[in-house]
Amino acid sequence: MKRALRWMAGSMALASPLFVLACGTSTPKRDRPREVILRSEDVDRKVGEKSAQDVKAQLGLIEDAELVAYVAKVGARLARHAPSRNFAYSFQIVDQEAPNAFALPGGFIFVSRGLLTLTNSEDELANVLGHEIVHVAARHAAARQEVGRSLPAKLDWLQGGYLARYGRDQEREADRLGQGLAAVAGYDPNGLVQFLRELEHTERLRLGSSRLPSFWDTHPSTKSRVAESAARANMTAWKRKAPIAAARADFLRRIEGLAIGTRASEGVFLQDRFLHADLDLFIHFPPNWTTINTHRAVGAISPKRDAQIFLEIQGPGDDVESAASEYLAELEDSGFRVEAVQSLRIGPHAAFRVEGQLSGAGGKLKARLTWLEREGSIYRFTAVAPDAAFQRYTGSFLNVPRSLRTLKAHERAKIQEMRLRIAVAHSGESLTELSERTANRWDIQQTAVMNDLFTNHVLELGQLIKIAVSEDYLPDADATTAE
């Protein structure tokens, strides 16, 4: 059931302190003056534990025991040489498409499946983990400022600003000491260079150019990080110690099978239609709205960005009116004022609707909440718009809940997901030829980037190449956990 309650994190990633590709969270452009950390480590730990639970709930964790143990082993090898403070480091893999890594106060370190897919060696992974360990050890997070939100927490379904980013100086320090930590642990500090280069190339592919620093961006540009890291790697003293994955083939074997892109188990969008195989669920969102699928909710935002509607599963139950009462009681502190209530049926489902107002940072908002009972669970639609614009979206707000139904056979058949596979090259083969032979779904540029090769690279016999293969969705192909 837990699994069924979780939604897929699609284009909306949890804001990343470090490696996420594209992100819109806001922190000031200039480095902040150094903040004296007043928070105790006990508070750090508690904040970290709570946030780790949130991460698990929102993104989900990969449960591949062998892979998780491997990442944890690499992390533990680094942690033996890192300042440990008063806590133990833990390492987990989040079920996130974007290449991402982040650390929470108290030693909770996460890498995403997207990041693992991008890496080509244990050295790269070690340098990334080293970077995150440094964030924790230096208590960078204690100085972070949370991004303000206009909606009350209860209605902030995106939680895009949940984790604010680190400052540029902190990122530079984490790059520098992360490389040093990797080196002390016996890994090649060039691993960070390699990884950042792959990240930069991926950015170019996605965004058309390498991401440039902007007003909202506190990260040094990836290009400058590559240059700085390369210079540092050449200077750093290190001695190779035997890696845990003996060779690249062993490393690739460990990450083979990871899901790529949107996971079908979390539901997929086919244009404005949302299909969820495990929940046997179909919803039609308004055309041309921006659709977003997070672990907490699935929804859409109007083109003018002045209206949004999203669906969450409130929990088990069959009494929509009680469910509404419980939720409204929780909303009491947010200033939500009920104006109208209505019992109704939507298709075969018992439903309950409440309309009301609340005051957000941008003025008065009107909200319509619709509870709907389905197979022993309470589904909740929330539609929000400024008071003045609400009327304009009434049709959409009514139609989305009404579109909810079970999947048809042909719709279910369309649900597929991509997985990372390892292909063995023939002698003299080009990437194009290998892709055609193996039904690789990545284009040539993407394949080259993911394997840190040039597009015109001539492959050697037996060379291992990462490819993306589209496969039928199998509900139990790999397990993840979330709450």
Binding site: V36, V184, T236, A237
Partner: protein, 442 residues
Amino acid sequence: MRRCGESGIRIPIALLLCAAALTGCAIESPPAARVPSAEERAAAEAAGFEVDPVRSAVELLPPGLLTGAHYRIEPQVITYGFANRYVITSDYGDFEARGDRMLRTRIREIDALAALDEMSETAAFADAAGNALKSPFVATWKLITNPVDTILGIPAGAWNAMKKTSQLAQGERGALEDSGMLALIGFEAKKRQIANKLGVDPYSSNSTLQKQLNRFAWAAYLGGLPYLFVPFVDDSDFERTSAEPADQVAETFLIYSPEDLRRLNRIELAVMGVPEPLSDELIGHPWYSPRHATVLVKALAALDLTQNRSAFIEAAVTAKSEDDALFYEHTAELLRTYSDRVSPVLEIVSRDGIPMGITESGTLVIPLPADYASWVPATAALARAITEEISGQLNVERSELVLSGTASPLARKRFEALAIAVTERAFEQLEGESARLSEPPL
């Protein structure tokens, strides 16, 4: 670094160091300062030199620092080996402060001792101390505090004891899992907190302070001594004598355990390209407390673009006393300040134990922690070595002596006559935007 009297091309610098007593020379404790005799004075003048001055504390210090509630600075201050030697008479014993920076440390420590003394009279402390004695870890306490008490006063002993207490030297945590070791970790953390509140160094070589810190840390950790409120010493009368803002330094030593500092230093040193054996030598060095090593390493780490930082560490590990360790610590800070404020240091070179920098603009920077540099034979030898040997070997455009304190008018004149620019009070002077003080003579 060479011993006194050792021959070789670089003897002048070795002689300087011996005379200055700031580095090596196989002396286990610094030579006692003394007032030069009339004959020595006459001989020096006849040879065109000065003698180190003997000045009044009133002349050197702001009135507010001359006496405090619990101390008094003796009126006569002898400068010897570039350092002003102060004698402090206090309620907690007499202390010698070798240098202005040490004076600040000792005065702060005396005020801290007074505050602890006052607190030890309270019922809260008596209760906490009583509770601590009932603790099952009391044996551990005795085990740890006794060697510390006996050895303190010699920094190496203190640091070694620290290493033992926290089982910190080898980077292994396994043995810390037993309850006795966990108690020590708790004790050590509490000690850092108390030291931070008092504004003193938890790794100070002041044995009186160490003893008191240990007492209070155990009372706080095992006996539940409540929050300690001790006002910081007002040090606004002091000149700035370090590169790092005091609050940042204090925070570093509050939040990181000695072992964590060692690990951080090892990582920083690796990034600088310092080979592991040399790195281990510095980290395990008996005369470098975690604080000395960390301040030194942080200063060098800030020189991100500088090549050959290993040369600095090679010189630093020759330290044979706490004064030596402080010399290298302050030298690193001077170099960093210069690099930050004046011209980036691109390479470090070391000659007979003195680390120097070569800047982007081709200047040889000789950082010298000195309260006061007179034109004595050793200073002249340094000047000669710079002009006649080092500058030529390194093919630099110009040379600049960067002092943490000041030079006598004669010394300054002589240095400048030899085309060696002099920057005085570097930590203060180089802070500003227009930091250039000494241009090379035409």
